[in-house]
Symmetry: C2
Subunit: 482 residues, 2 copies
């Protein structure tokens, strides 16, 4: 008999905590003097009450550790249950959303995807805007902790699939995981504060500065404006690009940096490749714009850098409609989105280190062309990569592509056109946010999609955010039998 | 010092042989009584002369065996040099093509891709139509022989990457490779003859029956009509679907069948999966058409079966413009094209057995969820799959996707739109033929593309046909140093 109580206990506590956080947007509404604060009071009370009940009901089942199955169900359960309650303010509040739309928005927030179904953001009450930002901010730190504490935990239990995700973040020099998690939370908070200060000093209003700082560092991409970053001036674009790139680096390197090894990020091959890819892609797109449409160098470089940083980290801000830049930038954006940021950051998608390992593996195979009897162990960041890690990475890549295909086909089945289906599936799985094409592109919105498509995309965001954990587990019926 | 002479000798002989084959379309033109025969006489003489010169010049360097590097350069060289000469009739003949167009058409023929730059096919001289069919037919048998004789040869030399391609076709029960190759050629000829007889009995004119039989069994897809199979009646569509599916099965199974084990194809897991996928996809599309556009069951099933068989085997015939069927069929066609046929057939793309191995590998990883210390060797068709084979398959898949991305971006850079770039890259790499969208879709044509795009697509066809051999080799500079 499977014991759901330890899982229920933690989920209940987290739901109650989410309810408590809802008091912040209530405060924002109170300070701004709009009557909307009542929505958050009700939502908060309901959420705290239900979460507390769940926790209490499960309290007597709490033991020392979690089994693999419990850990899996906990991880998935958190990202299913939090959006269930996070959606409430959108239903009760001024958005008057259907539950489908509200759940989509909350899932998009907590998975840091950043696709939105709402238009008229500019006129929403302060509380709702802050709530969108807060959900992304919580989702961002949540996923770093899961990637650093839970996924390795699952490895210990045998889910070696995620050893690859963890091996880069756990060197011998580092102390226990719990300690790292709290250190990372401090870094996360400080980076967000720094970002908010910079945004504020560049002229953003306080609420905008805080909300956008939260969605920048979470690489979430929710904005308080329909035009996203289109309404801000050049300085803000440069600052946002810089902070998005910083948010795409492995946070553990910042911890090491603060601990005295100041060049820790620079020594990380993942960081070097990531920065190189951003610079190359931005330069190519700037060149394209200057040569094709005769744009000046400054705006060309700025717009390219901002939008490349936004897509590669999966933030999903847009500072203009890059669908209009032409076919080459659009195609490049599609593939840049499939690259993603660094492991151990808030960025999602396939991630740079997986490509590095895959290319490394291919290179060792090619080396064997000459010396059939020779041994060429794959090394990464100074360590030998085991066959096991490599198979896991390759499986991830294959499953990612197959899930992308299946989700695209399912979306097309609901009646979406080809480019909306394929890019929507990619934007959801990669937790990027905007897709391509007129409907869900940077100038578009997910509100017009049909209900089935919204639920499919919500599932896609969940699958992508949990590194395909869900798919891997569903793949085996055995998993549920024992 | 690298010895190019054995390579040059074989290539010279093959070029000369191609020149000799050009006498067949000359005969066709002579029989039809059109003056166009002179084009083939000139082309043939030039080709035989140059090929013969190359062979003679290299004759004194022929030794017993080929090194790995020589084998690689030979394989690539054949598929580069034959189109160089195969293009001549298109330049000299009634098509009056630019060399770019002519080379594209010849490469498309010899790689069995089947993309065409020509319109007004219906009015072309008989010789040119036969020549297009003949190139595909030769390319088809050529690639089976390469896959069964050369790729394993490269494995022996250390290129274990292609062991995976070969292991399914070389059981212990089978005699030497040379013998298999000749047996397969007999099967190939008989299947083509049977197909031609069926087409003829269903009312096709003799030249049409022969040409279409050749491009069916080669899964090449060149047709003598701009409307492809759109002008033929229902019986022809069913017959073509059946022969395309037969051409997508591993030819070695037919050899075994003729040798007495009549159920050899049925026992092959690759065959079972392939037939299952075709049936499922065709049924889904028929259901879609019946439910969405109220089509009758008979035409819905026929059109679905024909076009699914055409895309999955990479033949590329079209019997109507399936771009008009709606978003779901279009998206499904895109992904079905990435599945491909069986290894050891004339079909290309990723191929069914690679997906089977990849899913098998993922399943063994998931099994390890429960029993971290357990061993779960991957088995396929009754044999244990080595880690080595599995890494090769995974590398293939990854390189295929990365090459697809790079080629798409390069095509977009030449100014093609997103859907043309991505589907064109897929159609070339998968040797399928038609892409998606209004320009290169089933109702379109490659003639309007810019010159750079045509050369890029030609390179893509070559890379796809040789199972990414070219990419793997270029990937290492070492390869060329020694
Ligand atoms: K995002
Ligand atoms: K083809």
């Amino acid at each position: 008999m499977f014991d759901y109580r330890p899982v229920g206990y933690v989920i209940g506590l987290l739901v109650a905590a989410l309810g408590a956080v809802m008091l912040l947007p209530m405060l924002a509404d109170l300070i701004s003097g709009n009557e909307h604060w009542f929505v958050f009071l009700v939502s908060s009370l309901v959420t705290i009450f239900v979460g507390g009940l769940i926790a209490l009901a499960c309290q007597n089942g709490v033991e020392a550790g979690l089994t693999i199955r419990q850990t899996f169900i906990l991880t998935t359960g958190v990202w299913v249950m939090l959006p269930v309650f996070g959606a409430i303010p959108f239903v009760l509040g001024e958005t008057q959303a259907s539950y489908t739309d509200a759940f989509f928005e909350a899932m998009s927030g907590l998975t840091t995807t950043g696709s939105t179904v709402f238009t008229g953001l500019d006129d929403l009450p302060e509380g709702l805007l802050l709530w969108r930002g807060l959900m992304q901010w919580l989702g961002g730190i949540g996923i770093i902790v899961v990637a650093m504490v839970f996924l390795p935990e699952l490895r210990v239990g045998g889910m070696q699939i995620f050893r690859s995700e963890a091996f880069d973040t756990f060197g011998k020099i580092l102390p226990r995981a719990g300690q790292i998690a709290s250190q990372i939370s401090v870094i996360y908070f400080l980076l967000t504060a720094a970002c908010a200060l910079v945004y504020g000093s560049l002229g953003m209003a306080p609420l905008d500065a805080v909300t956008h700082a939260m969605t920048t560092i979470a690489t979430g991409g929710f904005s308080n404006y329909d035009a996203s970053f289109g309404g801000f001036h050049a300085g803000v674009e440069y600052a946002a690009a810089a902070f998005m790139i910083l948010a795409g680096l492995p946070f553990v390197r910042y911890v090491q940096m603060v601990a005295g090894s100041w060049n820790a990020p620079l020594r990380d091959p993942q960081v070097r490749a990531f920065v190189g890819i951003v610079a190359t892609a931005a330069l190519l797109m700037a060149l394209w714009q200057v040569s094709q449409s005769g744009r000046d160098w400054e705006p060309a470089i700025r717009k390219s850098l901002f939008n490349v940083a936004s897509i590669i980290t999966g933030t999903g801000y847009a500072s203009e409609d890059y669908m209009l830049w032409g076919a080459f930038p659009v195609t490049l954006f599609f593939f840049v989105g499939l690259v993603g940021g660094c492991a151990g950051s808030t960025a999602c998608s396939v991630k740079v280190f997986r490509y590095q390992l895959l290319f490394g593996a291919i290179m060792t195979q090619v080396k064997a062309l000459h010396s059939p009897r020779g041994m060429f162990p794959l090394r990464y960041d100074g360590r030998t990569v085991s066959e096991d890690v490599l198979s896991s990475v390759m499986s991830f890549f294959v499953m990612f592509m197959v899930t992308l295909g299946a989700l695209s086909a399912a979306l097309a089945l609901t009646g979406l056109d080809f480019i909306t289906s394929v890019s929507g599936a990619g934007a959801a799985l990669g937790n990027i946010g905007p897709g391509l094409g007129p409907i869900i592109g940077p100038a578009g919105n997910f509100g017009e999609l049909n209900t089935t498509a919204k639920w499919l995309l919500s599932i896609g965001m969940l699958i992508g955010r949990l590194e395909l954990l869900v798919v891997f587990a569903i793949f085996t019926v055995n998993f549920w039998r024992r």
